[in-house]
């Protein structure tokens, strides 16, 4: 954190947390925090004629950990195309070398997020056994603050407790695992389905029993909501639903969302949702197969709009060659069967699995074009932008570096039409989607809700991230867009958001004129739950090691302190 004073002067401020929409004003910074005012000796940063927003928060991105790295490792061609470096030039000023396009190196990840004015990124899936790996990568990623969500929904302990209806034991186990892995919250990936994949099977519907464990995905989801609210964690459960990516999956999607009905968020962090349903685009499909594949974004969003205790993120397809990776092991195997490209799989004992397959989203391939439209439609049908977040499920639907392009499409009907017009079968795309009938163009205020205030609140981090109110972290992005005279050419919006004119993090200037000028002070954020010792859980966990279902020693399981430097620990206290 930098000491000293700074003032960002004269920009158009967009801050949904204070309902400020483009008013000209100043942002005062002192000792890394936003303050009401500073002395006249403060360093002045001129933001005149530019927009000023809080540092952005990414609620769901695969940026660090074993499967991300499996993707990097298996795809040398992601670094080169036709013998040319595909990732752009490295920093000129002697900073660390950058490489990769769809799965960038840690250095490029940190630098590119900073260039877009992002301050916090949530690594969306951490296998607990491999948590030290995730933290090693986070450690080597410059600038951005990061946290990681351990996966729980296929964990043997969780399934075993929930089968017996033991929510308290589940909660104690969650508390133990968050501490052992320095994790942030409760991630669910294809509940039960990934566990089934260990035998080469899957759970496509919410009521498919998980082999051996005699529990259903619906029971796992419900049980983990209960345990999450029992603990009062800052974030809700974070759900990657069953039956991802398949035509006709939207009824399953809505059925899973309905599990949240009747639950109320219980926490001290200002969070109102009890379920975050991630990359909803992959779950909003109609049709019986790929021939009549179509968007059901409207049907899904009609439900989301009226159900106030759920949040979603988009998972927008950006029409790039990318690398899919998910703890949804069976899905990746299925995808590999469709495109026949190389397939990596990692089953993790007792806990989870993961798969990685390269994928080319081709705008001339009808299902891909429909996926592109579906992602955008979700946002355009959304009524509450503070519950709807922009993601590409990086790198699954596209690399995170395409966020500005997604924003361009959301803010400009013309830009959407222009992309549609370049497709091979625009008429077929229009017939299978809603996109052509939507005039809505999102405003910068709404974009700020979707990328700043909304995700920060959903993660229980709204006291420090996502706004420019006094007392919050001094994370400020300045972009070369004139609020009073927005460019008619939407491409310019994309360009301006791709590379911030200036990005300040923790009161330090990190990016100037689109280039990184400092590595700042990154933080690893995790949640530490204080909860009375649960002898049952303690015994169960230690037996899994001593009786050898795990293959490592329990002493070497918890992530050691030095792997997560600059920790920012969020304390949660559960009364006895």
């Amino acid at each position: 954190m930098a000491s000293g004073e700074m003032i960002v002067k004269g920009g158009f401020i967009i801050d949904p947390t204070r309902k400020i929409d483009g008013d000209v004003g100043d942002v005062a910074i002192k000792d890394g925090k936003i303050v009401d005012k500073v002395s006249s000796s403060a360093k002045v940063i001129d933001a005149k004629g530019k927009i000023v927003m809080a540092g952005a928060v990414d609620v769901h991105s695969h940026v660090a950990g074993p499967k991300v790295n499996a993707g990097r490792l298996m795809r040398p061609e992601d670094k080169f195309i036709s013998g040319f470096c595909r990732s752009g030039m490295a920093q000129k000023n002697g900073y660390r070398m950058e490489s990769g396009f769809s799965i960038p190196s840690v250095f490029k990840t940190g630098y590119d997020y900073a260039r877009m004015g992002y301050t916090f990124v949530m690594e969306a899936a951490m296998p607990p056994l491999l948590a030290p790996h995730t933290h090693e990568e986070i450690h080597d990623t410059p600038i951005i603050d990061e946290a990681a969500l351990p996966v729980f929904a296929n964990n043997w302990f969780v399934m075993d407790y929930l089968k017996k209806g033991e929510v308290e034991n589940t909660a104690s186990y969650i508390a133990w695992l968050l501490k052992a892995t320095k994790g942030y919250g409760v991630k669910l990936v294809n509940p039960g389905g990934t566990a089934a994949w260990a035998w080469g099977l899957n759970c496509l519907s919410l009521n498919d029993p998980v082999p051996f464990f005699e529990i259903t995905p619906a029971e796992i989801i419900k049980g983990l909501i209960e345990a999450n609210e029992y603990l009062g964690l800052p974030h809700s459960i974070h759900l990657h639903q069953n039956n991802l990516g398949n035509p006709g999956n939207y009824p399953d999607t809505i059925a899973a969302l309905k599990i949240a009905e009747g639950f109320k968020a219980k926490n001290k962090f200002g969070r109102e949702s009890v379920m975050h349903s991630t990359h909803l685009q992959f779950h909003s499909y109609g049709g019986d197969g790929w021939k009549d594949f179509c968007s059901k974004a409207k049907e899904v969003m009609d439900y989301v709009n009226k159900q106030k205790n759920i949040t979603i993120d988009l998972g927008c397809v950006t029409l790039d060659e990318t690398t899919t990776m998910t703890a949804d092991g069976p899905f990746e195997h299925h995808l590999h069967g469709l495109n026949h490209l190389k397939w990596t799989n990692v089953d993790v004992e007792m806990e989870t699995a993961a798969g990685v397959v390269p994928y080319i989203y081709d705008k001339n391939v009808l299902p891909n074009a429909i996926q592109w439209a579906t992602g955008l439609e979700l946002a355009l049908f959304a009524k509450d932008m503070d519950r709807t977040f922009i993601t590409t499920d990086h790198p699954n639907a596209g690399p995170f570096t395409r966020y500005p392009r997604v924003i361009k499409w959301l803010m400009s009907r013309k830009a959407r039409e222009a992309t549609l017009a370049t497709m091979k079968n625009p008429d077929k795309v229009i017939n299978a989607t809603y996109i052509n009938g939507i005039d809505r163009e999102l405003t910068l205020f709404e974009i700020a809700q979707m990328t700043r205030s909304g995700p920060a609140k959903c993660l229980g981090l709204s006291s420090v991230y996502g706004g420019l109110a006094s007392g919050m972290n001094a994370d400020v992005g300045i972009f070369d867009l004139n609020y009073k005279d927005m460019p008619k050419d939407a491409e310019k919006i994309e360009t301006a958001l791709q590379r911030a004119a200036c990005f300040i993090k923790g009161g330090e200037v990190i990016v100037r004129d689109g280039e990184v000028v400092s590595h700042g002070h990154k933080k690893t954020v995790w949640v530490k739950v204080k909860i009375p010792e649960n002898p049952q859980v303690t015994r169960d966990v230690s037996q899994a090691f001593t009786h050898g279902t795990y293959t490592i020693d329990i002493r070497n399981y918890p992530v050691r302190e030095y792997l997560a430097p600059h920790q920012s620990i969020i304390d949660v206290n559960v009364e006895a």
Partner: protein, 254 residues
């Protein structure tokens, strides 16, 4: 060791000798120029298509000659190092000596002719890429090593003498002609495409099955070939209801 990635008609076009001599290259981490290694005379043509480059002398340690070129010609009166004609799209390269490995890697068009031998990975794909050679012709008048046409999608590779192992591995198109003998591993994991072997194959792949005997003419040679299909262990696409296999035409023993 000179990385001569600027030695292409595209880079030379529109430049005079001095400008060409100033074109960049690398020797390890040192930035060097073409002029540091070559005496340059003559000027580039107006476009790549009317630029002809002739290199006299030994280029055994000059990489990337003609890489990514789109038109024009490059002639080397001697040997050439790795990546000759890599990723090239058009034009013609003539190497009068031998070539090292990775020549014609991921080539898309044009012509690469070598009077001598080639080492390994002729017309292969870059590591990890499933999009190998797409078009153009590579002709090696001598022999070649392992990995010929790996992940090939199109174009033609002709080896006039012998080849070692791995011909058209993982290929999904294109034609490879070996006029001499091959040690083995011809067409392993191959999805589709054609191979002709005019000599002998010492070790056949078990996934190939003889289906008939055909008369064919290939590269000026008319002969009777045993026609094999395969690799039966690999996946194969369907076209009009018919499974498409890779074809191996092995010259029948008289």
């Amino acid at each position: 060791m000179f990385e001569g990635y600027s030695i292409t008609p595209d880079a030379f076009a529109g430049k005079n000798a001095a400008q060409i001599a100033a074109l960049p290259g690398h020797e390890g981490k040192i930035h060097v120029t073409i002029g540091d290694f070559f005496e340059v005379s003559g000027n580039g043509g107006e476009t790549a298509a009317d630029t002809d480059i002739v290199i006299t002398g030994d280029c055994t340690r000059v990489k990337y000659i003609g890489a990514r070129m789109t038109a024009g010609t490059v002639t080397v009166n001697g040997n050439a190092d790795m990546y000759v004609g890599g990723w090239m799209k058009g034009g013609k390269i003539h190497i009068k000596g031998n070539m090292d490995s990775f020549c014609g890697i991921q080539m898309e068009g044009g012509e690469l002719l070598c009077d001598g031998d080639a080492k390994n990975h002729v017309g292969c794909a870059y590591r990890g890429d499933w999009r190998g050679m797409k078009g153009g012709t590579i002709r090696v008048k001598g022999s070649a090593g392992n990995d010929i046409g790996t992940f090939m999608l199109g174009g033609t590779i002709i080896i006039e003498k012998d080849a070692f192992i791995h011909v058209s591995t993982h290929a999904e198109g294109g034609t490879v002609v070996i006029k001499g003998d091959v040690e083995g591993r011809v067409g392993g994991q191959m999805v589709k495409g054609d191979m002709y072997v005019l000599g002998k194959i010492k070790f056949m792949m078990p996934g190939y099955k003889k289906v008939d005997t055909v008369e064919k003419e290939i590269d000026g040679v008319k002969a009777t070939f045993d026609h094999y299909i395969g690799d039966l262990g690999e996946r194969h696409p369907k076209s009009k209801g018919q499974v498409v296999y890779a074809n191996l035409y092995l010259k029948a023993v008289a």
